[in-house]
């Protein structure tokens, strides 16, 4: 029988398949509707929100690099209140698992949002972004200091009944230490990785190309770093991982699953091919069939055993 079970379980949520989309690249779930039916996806992650509305950074916010993309959106978002009023009602109706993504500048910021987002909101989980490199104060601190990371995750866990996913920054010396901190804080799962801090200079203008000087590097260029971090964390920490960073093809997705990710998430890849998630789901299925696996869950971490 060549029927493959694509469902996967992550932090207590059952996903239709292991393919999710990344925060900040998929808007609030409606923007790509013409390209990729939500009901086909394992889940989507919403744009990161903060307690208060933010206009974000000036343009230019985007710059291409070899096989990569720098962005300095700077967490532009409508703020918690408007999110609850204008967006959350739609989320309830979405035919897939919806993960909210929250960012903050203080412990209280995170707590305020986590308190407002509960199982009855229709969300499947809460992704706690402690890693956005675009915000001058706050973000980086939680993402690079294990003690703060533990504290913020614990504080979120204390006030929400939603499964909590800690999203970690790759801009650290020791990703395993950060993962362990999130685990101690009570995280139910980990998202790996956010963007690498980078920049480009416009050599004709002789100044940084991004208005904000620095930006987060995403896309295929960072994939080897992302796979390595997923691998290291999978070896050391017993939490499910959502792997991301440069996935554009099903082969990339399989690489993350073999490295130990339970699900994978597509960000920049959507910009290149808005049907990438669909093609990746098919590709993973085909790969399982070819290798005689009856469930995609059997793929997870397989490369560690060799």
């Amino acid at each position: 029988m060549d029927c493959v079970d694509l469902t996967t379980v992550l932090a207590g949520i059952t996903l239709r398949n292991p393919v999710v989309t990344c925060s900040g690249t998929y808007g609030f779930g409606e923007e790509y509707a013409d390209y990729c039916p939500l009901e086909a996806l394992g889940g989507i992650t919403l744009k990161g929100i903060t307690p208060l509305p933010r206009l974000g950074n000036s343009v230019p916010r985007l710059a291409e690099t070899p096989a990569g993309l720098l962005n300095s959106v700077g967490l532009e978002n409508p703020g918690l209140e408007d999110f609850l009023v204008s967006y959350l009602p739609k989320v309830r109706k979405m035919p897939t698992a919806v993960i909210a993504n929250i960012s903050g500048f203080s412990l209280e910021d995170y707590v305020q949002m986590a308190r407002a987002l509960q199982v009855d909101s229709g969300l499947a989980a809460l992704e706690v972004n402690i890693s956005c490199p675009n915000v001058k104060h706050g973000g980086m601190h939680f993402g690079t200091d294990p003690h703060s990371a533990e504290e913020v995750i614990a504080a979120v866990k204390a006030v929400t009944n939603l499964p909590t996913i800690a999203k970690l920054s790759p801009n650290v010396t020791d990703i395993v230490e950060m993962a362990r901190a999130a685990q101690r804080g009570g995280a139910d799962a980990l998202s790996l990785i956010n963007t690498l801090l980078g920049m480009r200079i416009d050599i004709e203008q002789q100044r940084p190309l991004l208005a904000n000087t620095f930006g987060g590097l995403s896309g295929p260029a960072i994939r080897p770093v992302a796979v390595r971090m997923v691998w290291q964390v999978a070896e050391a920490v017993d939490l499910p991982i959502i792997g991301m960073g440069g996935i554009t093809t099903w082969q990339d997705a399989v690489e993350f699953l073999l490295a130990g990710a339970t699900a994978i998430s597509i960000g920049t890849g959507n910009f290149v091919n808005p049907q990438a998630p669909l093609e990746i789901i098919q590709g993973i299925k085909g790969y399982c069939e070819k290798h005689g696996l009856t469930s995609v869950r059997n793929l997870v971490g397989l490369a560690h055993k060799g």
Binding site: G24, T25, Y26, G27, E31, Y32, D34, Y35, K47, L55, G56, S58, V59, P60, R61, L62, A63, E64, P66, A67, G68, L69, N71, V73, E76, A211, G219, P220, A221, T248, T249, T268, N270, F271, V272, N273, P274, Q275
Partner: protein
């Protein structure tokens, strides 16, 4: 919509040193598109996917022919993306997202003035065609570097429309020497005199402009002075082109003075000029 466009024409537009290209694509986009909208083209060397460049390129629709299922893109080779695009051959399929964005809105009646700077003229051609189809009076103000540029970038096609043309070049080799805004200003003051006014009895004029930011800002200021409604077509670096990444925002200000961000790809690229905050920082 994600679709393929079959390359039916891909040729040099005008003099080779202008590096302009005309690309005609057959596909379903023509059926639903309107002037001012754009497509996001995957620029890749044929069938082998590459990440270099990674992102699609937004290109405006310069002509829309629903009867023939064809759209025309006009572009200048200016960087890696367009250089690779320029290699697409007839018979190849290009991956397109589109039609994207909101496009221009046409007045019911009256006169439409198009104000173009350089290759900003491209999307205005589709607009001129729709406006003429609808029976509007159309006039083009167009400024460019020199005669060779204007002729290369489509002057003959504009002449074929048989509309009044106000041309300027920086070096005076064609039309008047100077900036397109000077001609616009001249024409506005001819009609309305030299002072600001809200004279609703003068001809119903609307302006649509596309070109360098500084030029569009100047056009907007002139139009605001004469209380002429103006639509501007903005450009910004794009990631997703569908409103999902917030890469391409512009800043608008409403009558109450409140600043907000809009997405050039989804809410634009066409905006009301009076609402645009041109220095972009907020």
């Amino acid at each position: 919509m994600l679709t393929e466009g079959l390359v039916v024409v891909h040729e040099c537009l005008g003099a080779a040193d202008q590096r302009l290209r005309r690309l005609v694509l057959k596909g379903p986009i023509a059926k639903t598109a309107k002037a001012g909208q754009f497509v996001a083209v995957l620029v890749q060397d044929s069938s082998i996917p590459s990440y270099d460049p990674l992102l699609r390129r937004p290109i405006s629709l310069a002509e829309i022919s629903p009867d023939r299922d064809e759209i025309t893109l006009l572009y200048r080779i200016q960087g890696r993306g367009t250089e690779i695009l320029a290699r697409a051959r007839c018979g190849e399929q290009l991956s397109l997202m589109g039609p994207l964005g909101q496009g221009f809105s046409l007045p019911e009646v009256g006169e439409l003035w198009l104000v173009a700077g350089g290759i900003g003229v491209f999307p205005l051609y589709a607009l001129a065609q729709s406006a003429l189809d609808q029976g509007l009076n159309v006039r083009l103000f167009w400024g460019g570097e020199n005669q060779s540029f204007l002729i290369s970038a489509g002057l003959p096609a504009w002449q074929a429309l048989e509309i009044p043309l106000n041309l300027s070049t920086l070096d005076g080799t064609l039309g008047e020497r100077g900036l397109v805004t000077e001609q616009l200003q001249g024409r506005l003051s001819e009609l309305f005199g030299h002072t600001k006014q809200e004279n609703t009895s003068s001809p119903q004029i609307r302006v649509a402009t596309c070109g360098p930011k500084k030029m569009m800002q100047a056009v907007t200021e002139l139009c605001v002075n004469y209380a002429v409604p103006v639509q501007v077509s903005l450009e910004e670096r794009m990631g997703c082109a569908v409103g999902a990444c917030l890469g391409c925002v512009c800043t608008l200000i409403d009558k109450a003075g409140t600043l907000s961000h809009k997405k050039v790809c989804q809410d634009g690229p066409v905006f009301r000029g009076e609402e645009v905050v041109w220095d972009g920082l907020c």
